[in-house]
Symmetry: C2
Subunit: 481 residues, 2 copies
């Protein structure tokens, strides 16, 4: 791929020069244990929002706002628990420039040294031999959030004009269901966000550990529950075993018909909705850097359903899957309990892809499950429900923002990035696309082995610093597009 | 059935006369919340043992012992938690008389008013209109335990010689797995219990609400777990769904092959071990007082697998059943969690009957489950294990103790009792039979609707007082047999 290179060397050199300051800024952010899932640490989440406001102020942002989201709805221990605010800010307001919104989150997953961390999770540890920064939030998502701020600092110190108007939207509840975010985005679409032409999210990861990626697709998820109900209360299997129709027996029978051990969904009609694989798309997978070994390493087992890279990637990204998650109401402890559960609720979900229509999928699932139950001839009561759904997302990897990000990546890393999709969902992607009516770009900073929700979360210094260069370079290329 | 009646009227009259004292004694016992499953109430279980020692002393028992069982093994909150003692006592020591051991338990199930009790569970409430005594432990098992003491008091006040030597064995952990009891019985078989010729247990219930029963059979129980293990840790279904062999899929498939919705066990070879139904046995069920409506009322639903009394009773008592209890390691909460559980453990048990050999059953179950898993062609790891087993028990309803109990029942209730079996297990029955080498009689006091482990547990005054008469009369008939 050839393209007109922009003269970004001075920016990249400045970012290199500021590396110690950037690492120090991230260290300060990691030191604030802004765990949104731990009520006792809620003040720290607020402290983190204040830290960001101070940083934005220092960098010359305008119209900085802390959007109050009110009280956190139940279940909570403290009925007056305040949701952390969404931090908004604007950098630049030139009608001649494009306006880009960048989203990130300043809350983090829980972390305790006792969980198996090699170092204190909220004290950044710089392993200088490997040049890796360890700490909760390093890669998810404080590194990228701070990265955007670093890019602005570099421009200011260079005396360069910023290439776009930047709007930041940083939330503090991403790890706890993004409560209040959808409503805020909808409300501000025609107000605070009215000039936004593009949204960039840096909150995912490279597929592997060596090659940068740009992400243009996500699977959706329809989550169902199957309820089978019989006796008025849990019964003793000694007294009632053999004489009462047991809800667990029926539920297990129905769940067993949904998917086979090779991962094939057995519900008719779903496959027919999946967009056919074209030769062009098939070839896309050839270039992507991935292997069965990488999957085995990530899963911690050699239980892959496919023996080659391409099938793995296709089944992660472009085919639906069905997972059985568990059963509510049955015995779930260790040891032995001789209960006949009176009401059991099986949970499963289907990951959706183009062109599965969510409502049509629900119809097929409901009809099939009801048929399977009917076959059993059981006197128990049966119900199937959708708990929640979220659509898949696919963007055009050849649009202006993806191409700008690709050029910046090549400038920084000297390699054409892989254009990847992800198997999971990032619901805010769809919210921004729908509410603002603009393209969204997923531009990850960290690597696939960063351990975002695990112990010893890390961000390689090379990813952090080159990530800042890529974020900055991307804005320049996008401004010219 | 005709028999030589013993002149027991004076005893029965004395028991009627002492009714207020007997109710008061039970009230005092109920007032001690001896819940063995609640560590914070452990001192109350000890208090209950002291109450019994005082009663036994007052009644003239000899060689009263509190058998220390040591520290309760984990899992416990308090690592020094003391097990409640087993209370032993002897009443009479005449070599010319038969020696009968009576077993009961002085601990109770948990109970809180908030669970839905109409009255305070540990304050006995005498509903004089219905003549029912409400309170935790009233029927399970303080009523019967106190019943034996009442019988002795009545004899003492009459100035009657007691017909047998009585050995009492009252435990305080029955509702929590009878920890330590088996070892104690084995140890005392040739010591404290060396003269025992017969064991009588009053810790079960009439089948229904109107007709006395004597119980001569119990089903056994073999409890299994099926373990399917794949990834090294729980995985995200977005990232790994469709590319990894999911342990839940395999487990559900295997569990679905074990039993069908009509209650038929699908594992080959088990049916062949079940003792054939003879015409003689088949006829036994005709006389028994029971109905489909009673089953529906007990289950709180109209989900019976059989439409007639005889099939229900046979499937509860003399045929095996298989119940799926639940899954450990899978998602079991409410709501939605998009997890692929790494290791899931399915729990199921089979109720056993004559002539199922426990070891042979294990072999059949293991072989079948392993075959079913092998069919799946899954790369996951599979294991099936027995968690615990307990044999079925069947006695001879025509032996001396059953016939004695039958005569006493006819004297008191003016009806021939039903000879019944039970679907559940009372493991101590087998322990006594095995360790002491003597016959065991199950002689219930309460009714089928007493709500032993439920809210509003009760004992009808007629069952309590007539129960005392039956216990006493039984000892007289047995002494003469």
């Amino acid at each position: 791929m050839s393209y007109d290179k922009l003269p970004l060397e001075p920016l990249f050199a400045k970012i290199d020069e500021l590396k110690p300051q950037f690492i120090s800024r991230l260290e300060k952010a990691i030191a604030i244990p802004s765990v949104s899932g731990d009520e006792s640490l809620r003040p720290k989440v607020f402290e983190m929002s204040a830290f960001l406001v101070q940083e934005l102020t220092n960098l010359g942002f305008d119209d900085i706002q802390l959007k109050d989201l009110g009280i956190q709805p139940p279940p909570v221990n403290d009925p007056k628990l305040q949701l952390p605010p969404i931090v908004l800010g604007k950098y630049g307001n030139d009608p001649a420039k494009k306006t880009v919104l960048v989203y990130g989150h300043y809350d983090v997953q829980p972390a305790l040294k006792e969980d198996g961390w090699a170092t204190e999770p909220f004290t950044m540890y710089h392993d200088t031999a490997k040049d890796i920064l360890y700490g909760r939030g390093s890669t998810d998502d404080k590194g990228p959030v701070i990265g955007w701020l670093n890019v602005i600092q570099a421009h200011r110190e260079l005396g360069w004009e910023f290439p776009v108007n930047l709007v930041v939207c940083f939330e503090g509840m991403e790890e706890s269901g993004s409560l209040g975010l959808d409503e805020l985005v909808a409300k501000e679409a025609k107000q605070y966000f009215k000039d936004v032409e593009q949204v960039t999210i840096s909150d995912n990861y490279w597929l592997g550990t060596t090659k940068p990626v740009l992400t243009y697709g996500l699977r959706g998820c329809n989550y169902y529950q199957v309820i089978v109900e019989g006796p008025g209360a849990d019964l003793h299997s000694g007294i009632f075993g053999g004489i009462i129709a047991e809800p667990m027996t029926d539920l297990i029978k129905v769940l067993s018909t949904l998917v086979d051990s090779s991962g094939q969904i057995l519900i008719p009609g779903i496959k027919d909705m999946v967009a056919p694989l074209t030769d062009k798309e098939d070839k896309l997978y050839d270039a992507i850097d991935f292997s069965v070994e990488e999957l085995n390493a990530a899963a911690g087992s050699k239980t892959s359903l496919h023996d080659n890279k391409k099938d793995i990637l296709k089944h992660r990204w472009r085919y639906p899957s069905l997972s059985l998650h568990g059963i509510e109401g049955a015995f779930s402890g260790s040891g032995a309990k001789t209960v006949i559960p009176a009401k059991v609720i099986g949970k499963f979900s289907i990951r959706t892809v183009p062109n599965i229509e969510s409502k049509k999928l629900d119809e097929l699932v409901f009809k099939f499950a009801e048929e399977q139950f009917a076959k059993l001839g059981s006197p128990n009561k049966f119900k199937i429900e959708l708990i929640h759904d979220g659509n898949y997302w696919v963007s055009d990897p050849f649009n202006a923002s993806f191409q700008a990000a690709s050029k910046a990546t090549q400038d920084v890393w000297n390699i054409v990035p892989d254009f990847t999709r992800e198997g999971g969902s990032i619901p805010i992607t769809l919210t921004f696309e729908k509410e603002l009516g603009v393209d969204v770009l997923l531009l990850p900073m960290g690597r696939g082995d960063d351990g975002a929700h695990s112990i010893n979360e890390k961000l390689d210094v090379s990813n952090y610093i080159n990530g800042c260069k890529t974020l900055g370079g991307y804005l320049h290329y996008y401004a010219k597009a």
